[in-house]
């Protein structure tokens, strides 16, 4: 049973993480299909999940949400390295492999950008996308992020180094509330399955 809803979307809601979600998080963080999107090889034990979620809950510079569709956990959305003085934060998300392809990642990212800009008064949202992660690239590009640079050979995945593309979106460029009231984001439903 996920925690209470914090951000509401059309197809997914972003919930506060509860202890009941730890199994879901652990399964996916360890999932060989999810990990490459983050370029991590780290094994996560149950205690690691508990420590991570609790440290985020206590920190001022990050937020973590469980993404649920019809009440079922389907992924995670998070903000980290939040710097209120500079007005910036970095965005991350993943959707469980068997729930991808439904536009959940796009809506998760969209809710988090809206939250960062409209509730937290931030000026910039940054996203890093591993060069091979086309699904995630479509998510950020679909939301209007600009490609602003590349970190060469920044991650090591599946036997080789990979570049990371840097994207960002400025508050001035975010017109999501108006667009939302206009109705739909169906054109984005193909872009899913992304990680940060």
């Amino acid at each position: 049973m996920p925690g209470p809803v914090f951000l509401r979307g059309d197809t997914v809601d972003l919930h506060v993480v509860s202890e009941a979600d730890y199994d879901f998080l652990q399964r996916n963080w360890n999932d060989p299909a999810v990990r490459p999107g983050f370029g991590t090889a780290t094994l996560r034990r149950k205690d690691d999940i508990v420590d991570h979620v609790e440290s985020i809950s206590e920190s001022d510079d990050s937020e973590i949400f469980l993404v649920c569709a019809d009440g079922d956990p389907v992924g995670e959305g998070f903000l980290f390295d939040l710097d209120a003085q500079r007005g910036r934060v970095e965005l991350g998300y993943w959707i469980a492999p068997d729930r991808q392809g439904n536009g959940y990642a796009t809506e998760t990212a969209e809710r988090l950008v809206e939250y960062a800009v409209a509730e937290r008064r931030l000026n910039k949202v940054l996203a890093r996308v591993l060069a091979f992660n086309d699904a995630s690239r479509r998510v950020v590009e679909g939301l209007g992020f600009e490609h602003v640079g590349c970190l060469r050979e920044d991650f090591y995945v599946d036997g080789e180094f990979h570049d990371v593309d840097l994207y960002d979106l400025l508050a001035d460029e975010w017109d999501q509330p108006a667009e939302k009231s206009g109705g739909s984001h169906t054109e984005r439903t193909e872009s899913d399955g992304g990680e940060q």
Binding site: D60, A84, Q85, R86, G87, R120, R121
Partner: protein, 179 residues
């Protein structure tokens, strides 16, 4: 000896308060003329002074005001941004100066430094301030800096045997008299 300079104006420097400043802070915090302009109605011992003036938490920044940038500069008063809330971009500002340091523009200089710091360095959008309705000096100071009177809470304080209104002020980024 006061700590290193953090903000420097024409007349005052603002510095972190240190253990060695506690005597000055405790003396003035308890001083009847200062107390009655704030107002504060109960005595404060050294530990409470340390908590309030030196060990403030994440949502505040408090600074000792000194005359000039000399390491041995005279201590003049204290000022602070508190209730800092970065989401709406808001903070409250408060200030007091020792009786013999009043009337010389020090407090105005200090509040202007805090406003510059709040808007230009901390990216805040609005400052709250309040003064007793009877405190002409504080109200003139706030208006000089550019604060707008926004409201009044009736009989908010009890000072010298009488109820006194509290006048609320606000200053938005872009409204400083001296930008």
């Amino acid at each position: 000896m006061p700590g290193p300079v953090f903000l420097a104006g024409d007349r005052v420097t603002l510095r972190p308060a240190e253990e060695s400043d506690l005597e000055f802070l405790a003396r003035n915090h308890n001083d009847p003329t200062i107390r009655q302009s704030m107002p504060r109605s109960y005595p404060r011992r050294r530990d409470a002074i340390r908590d309030e003036y030196v060990d403030w938490g994440d949502d505040a920044v408090g600074l000792l005001a000194c005359a000039g940038d000399d390491p041995d500069a005279d201590r003049l008063g204290y000022c602070a941004l508190f209730r800092i809330d970065e989401d709406p971009g808001r903070a409250a500002v408060g200030v007091w100066f020792a009786p013999d340091a009043q009337g010389q523009g020090y407090a105005t200089d200090a509040v202007e430094l805090l406003a510059d710091h709040a808007f230009d360095e901390r990216r805040l959008h609005r400052l709250d301030a309040a003064a007793m309705a009877t405190n002409d000096r504080s109200r003139a100071l706030l208006e000089r800096v550019g604060f707008t009177e926004e409201g009044r809470r009736r009989d908010y304080y009890f000072v010298g045997g009488e109820y006194v209104d509290r006048v609320e002020y606000g200053l938005l980024d872009g409204e400083r008299q001296v930008e």
